[in-house]
């Protein structure tokens, strides 16, 4: 099936090879007419350049093209930029409805943005598809090139064919009456000084260094693939947790996603701002100009682990793990979890106090304090007075039918329906009480609930995070960095010196930084009697320039 190409030198090359892996002889007719050979992948047989029959070949060829890869990169780049024109949905105020927010804030453009789904661009199917295509392109591009390149570099001979040397960018032939061994030795010493590895055969020299830098791109692509796989693993259940935990001062709650194993107690939330008297003098003007600058957000917490089996309905037995001052940049870590100071709310109402009062005489028959998170059903006083809490709306508003409802369970705007019992009214009087508002639905009452005061407390919001993909991402990132540095900070350089009759052929090749290679070559051949190679691409461009 595979048609192999046998070179005149005897080496058998895979089908599609342009330059013999061993001697470098040009194997393809049309390449022979060219002044310079294309050295990009050593003229090796790349699958994508060789086969184009089956569907698999076609897909392979599509993704193996750098042009396609770069196009994908540019499209992704442009799409990413579009996503920053207006804020993504996750950054608009959480109380806002996206469907109206964008139009409200940004007019027609905002409406279009929302309609096209750009408000969630980075999680849209087509954006993810773009990223996935880049991933596929990375794999196929790399495989298509690295295998043949590896073969070609591994199999290269020292005394390469004249046609190969002649078609190198740096090349020159020197005719010498006699070759002095001394000057050859001298060249080798100088090459070694420059850290070239030297191979010799039949009086020819191949000096090569930093071949490993050729693997840099492939290694960094492996790193990227690992990184992308790590990113995908987030969607595997159990790998990733992202929860927001609102916790009040004094409260102990179970930490979500820990299967009821861990509990957290909030002792205190602390908000500090910079005060110019107390701070570094250098900050004074900035504090004066900017007003309040936050200095510290901190929640003092205790972490508990549940010990032993709990029976349903019973209070869990908790064992303290540690006390921790949880600040921004200082998350609390336990097992696979980490807790982060994310947000806070100061002065949330926690308790409200009322007095059962006679409207006319202002006589009080008893005081009660309602715990807004855990209200009692009934509050009893002496002498036959009592209050029943018929309904409680922590976050009260009237709905479209003018019925009282609650927006949430957070006591932002508490309202109550009380039934007040007294010896005079054993069936009770009903009163609706909200902040600065009292409604008496069944006519005039004798008694009222007089507002006495509130108690507030701070609430801290902590992010509960588990991300088991992090180690994979870290490995991917590390491999990428190693690969990219390897490929960028070193250059693969080769110098061929071949004796052919009374001629010495010298050629040089590098994958980048020709300037550096030329400088090394000048140093190596200086005073050897062998003329240093010239840059044939200059000649070509000069000729072109003259013709134009």
């Amino acid at each position: 099936m595979m048609k192999q190409v046998k070179c005149e030198c005897g080496h058998v090359n895979p089908h599609g090879t342009v330059l013999c892996e061993s001697c470098g002889r040009v194997l393809v007719e049309e390449e022979k007419s060219k002044k310079l050979v294309d050295m990009r992948y050593e003229g090796s047989a790349r699958r994508s350049q060789t086969y184009n029959k089956t569907i698999i070949d076609k897909i392979w060829n599509f993704f193996s093209s750098v042009k396609v890869g770069v196009t994908l990169i540019i499209i992704t780049l442009a799409a990413s930029a579009i996503g920053t024109i207006f804020p993504q949905e996750m950054y608009i105020p959480p109380t806002e409805n996206a469907s109206v927010y964008y139009e409200d804030q940004y007019g027609f453009a905002g409406e279009v943005y929302y309609t096209l789904g750009f408000h969630n661009l980075y999680s849209s199917w087509w954006y993810l598809l773009l990223i996935a295509s880049i991933g596929v392109s990375l794999v196929i591009c790399s495989l298509d090139r690295v295998v043949p390149l590896y073969r070609a570099l591994k199999k290269q001979r020292v005394d390469r064919h004249e046609g190969f040397l002649k078609r190198q960018r740096l090349y020159r032939a020197t005719t010498l009456a006699s070759i002095e061994e001394d000057s050859f030795e001298n060249i080798k010493v100088k090459l070694k000084e420059k850290r070239y590895n030297i191979r010799e055969e039949n009086g020819s020299i191949l000096a090569e260094k930093n071949r490993f830098s050729r693997w840099g791109p492939y290694i960094n692509h492996i790193g990227l693939i690992i990184f992308l796989i790590g990113g995908m693993l987030r969607f595997v259940p159990g790998m990733y947790v992202d929860e927001l935990l609102w916790i009040r001062e004094g409260e102990t709650v179970v930490i979500p996603e820990t299967k009821g194993e861990y509990y957290l107690e909030n002792h205190e939330f602390i908000l500090e701002t910079y005060e110019k008297e107390k701070e570094n003098e250098a900050f004074t003007t900035a504090i004066e100009n900017n007003g309040t600058v936050a200095k510290n957000f901190q929640t003092n917490v205790s972490l508990y682990k549940e010990s032993g089996e709990t029976i349903a309905g019973q209070e869990p037995e908790l064992e303290k793990v540690e006390d921790y001052e949880l600040r921004v940049n200082e998350p609390l870590k336990f097992e696979q979890f980490a807790l982060y100071q994310q947000s806070y709310k100061l002065g949330e109402i926690s308790e409200m106090s009322f007095a059962l009062t006679n409207k006319e005489t202002n006589e009080e028959f008893g005081q009660m304090t309602i715990d807004l998170h855990n209200p009692q059903d009934e509050y009893t006083f002496e002498n036959g007075y009592s209050v029943e809490l018929m309904s409680y709306f922590p976050d009260f508003e009237f709905d479209e039918n003018s019925e009282p409802v609650t927006k949430s369970r957070v006591p932002n705007n508490p309202a109550f329906i009380f039934k007040m019992f007294s010896p005079e009214h054993p069936d009770g009087e009903v009163s609706f009480v909200a902040i600065q508002q009292t409604i008496e639905p069944y006519g005039d009452n004798d008694l009222k609930m007089a507002f006495k005061g509130v108690d507030t407390q701070n609430v801290s919001a902590l992010t509960v995070r588990k991300d088991l993909t992090l180690p994979i991402l870290a490995i991917g990132g590390l491999i990428f960095m190693i690969g990219v540095v390897q490929g960028a900070y070193w250059n693969h350089r080769r110098i061929w010196i071949r004796r052919l009759g009374d001629q010495v052929l010298v050629a040089g090749h590098t994958n980048k930084n020709w300037h550096g290679l030329k400088r090394e070559i000048t140093h190596v051949f200086d005073g050897s009697g062998i003329q240093e190679p010239i840059d044939q691409s200059d000649e070509i461009t000069n000729k072109k320039g003259k013709e134009e």
């Binding site: 990009r40 750098v66 042009k67 890869g69 770069v70 990169i73 540019i74 992704t76 780049l77 990413s80 930029a81 996503g83 920053t84 024109i85 804020p87 993504q88 996750m90 950054y91 804030q105 940004y106 007019g107 791109p217 992202d242 910079y274 701070e279 570094n280 250098a282 900050f283 003007t285 900035a286 504090i287 100009n289 900017n290 600058v293 936050a294 200095k295 510290n296 600040r327 921004v328 940049n329 998350p331 980490a338 982060y340 100071q341 992010t463 995070r465 992090l470 991402l473 990132g477 990428f480 960095m481 990219v484 960028a488 900070y489 994958n511 980048k512 930084n513 020709w514 300037h515 200059d538």
Partner: protein, 395 residues
């Protein structure tokens, strides 16, 4: 200490200015043109002055660090001056490899503009908000800035390449675009000049206006208001009254600043055309006469090769590590993050086009120029216009 720090920065600024003059001299020097052996006396003095300026700026950086107790990279002024410093540092290193005086002639003015631009923003030493209180501030921001600065060298090299290689006597697309790029640079100068002029006179005009959420706000202009805010009420009638009113979704003050910069830039440009009677690119072309195009191309490419890993490390990897610690997630599609990714993708495309598609010379030079425009966009527009988690910049 704070005063000393400010003075050192000012001295550095002056030295860069003098250094530029010497590099210009090194190219004009007729004697040196004949013997083509490395940099001449002028260039040597130029680079010495640049190094002296760099040392002064490092002095500014250290003294300010000591005074503040944290590395001065925490607001727009500090970051941009640091970026300018890295650019000069990168230039000095590359100068000693390639001995290209023209590189100094073009890099130092870019650094000068960066520092001048930075100085137009609040220069107070600011205390750190909680999310910035981390050693990663020093690690992430400095590495990212260094990476960007090294990448910016490819912009300078690209500019030199194009000024020399493009035929500016004809009205080609390329020639016009290059002139536009230079006009952009001139507008930056315009911004610095006009802000300094009105800043020195203490110009101030105030408005009441209604913002997008129907809330009444006060706005303070430091440049005469060409455009006024939405339903703005001018509170300082003795000052220049706006000609046009903007809709509520546009920030009138920023638009006003942009208009003034363009306006001043246009005046400078027209004056230049009036006196020199040549397009700017054509007037600059003689300065690139002795430049070896191949070498400049190589400098541009190498600076991308060297800068790309540094940028990746600083602007993406260190950034992700810190984001994980401070914000609980390593990546959040914040505009600054996205634009760092865009920059990275762009330079990745540059490298692929160059390696595999053989984009050398002009094409490569243009990519270097565009890359820098992206970096500047991320620094200026993303900070000032697209608000996000990274908007520490202030007004």
């Amino acid at each position: 200490m704070v005063a000393l720090s400010g003075n050192l920065l000012f001295i550095a600024f002056l030295l860069y200015l003098v250094g530029t003059a010497f590099f210009a001299g090194s190219i004009k020097d007729k004697k040196a043109r004949e013997k083509d052996h490395g940099p001449n006396k002028w260039a040597k003095i130029g680079v010495t002055i640049a190094i002296a300026g760099f040392i002064c700026q490092v002095g500014y950086f250290i003294t300010r660090w000591v005074a503040a107790g944290h590395a001065p990279v925490s607001n727009l002024f500090e970051f941009t001056t640091f970026f300018g410093m890295c650019l000069v540092g990168a230039f000095i290193v590359i100068y000693f490899v390639y001995k290209l005086p023209a590189l100094g002639l073009f890099t130092l003015p870019v650094a000068l503009l960066l520092i001048g631009y930075a100085a137009m923003f609040p220069r107070d030493i600011t205390p750190l908000v909680p999310s910035l209180q981390s050693n990663w501030l020093h690690i992430h921001v400095t590495t990212a800035a260094l990476g960007q600065a090294i990448l910016a060298i490819s912009f300078v090299a690209g500019l030199i390449y194009l000024i020399k290689a493009v035929d500016h006597t004809k009205k080609t697309k390329e020639a016009i675009w290059l002139e536009v790029v230079l006009f952009g640079v001139v507008c930056t100068l315009g911004f610095i000049i006009i802000s300094s002029v009105f800043g020195a006179t203490g110009y101030k005009s105030e408005f009441h206006w209604i913002d997008n959420n129907n809330v009444e706000e006060t706005l303070e202009y430091h440049l005469p208001a060409l455009v006024g805010p939405h339903e703005g009420e001018h509170l300082t009638p003795d000052k220049f009254s706006p000609l046009v009113e903007t809709p509520g979704i546009i920030n009138a003050k920023k638009l006003n600043t942009v208009l003034w910069s363009l306006f001043t830039g246009a005046i400078i440009y027209l004056l230049f055309r009036l006196f020199v009677r040549k397009r700017m690119t054509l007037a600059l072309q003689p300065l690139t006469k002795r430049v070896n195009l191949d070498l400049v191309d190589e400098v541009g490419y190498r600076s991308v090769l060297i800068g790309f890993p540094v940028f990746t490390l600083g602007a993406l990897i260190f950034a992700m590590i810190w984001a994980q610690i401070a914000w609980s997630r390593f990546w959040g599609w914040d505009p600054k993050e996205v634009w760092a990714l865009i920059t990275w993708l762009f330079y990745a495309a540059y490298l692929h086009l160059r390696l595999s598609k053989g984009w050398h010379g002009k094409k490569s030079a243009w990519l270097g120029v565009i890359g820098f425009i992206i970096i500047m966009f991320n620094l200026i527009v993303v900070n000032l216009v697209i608000a996000g988690l990274h908007s520490y910049a202030g007004s």
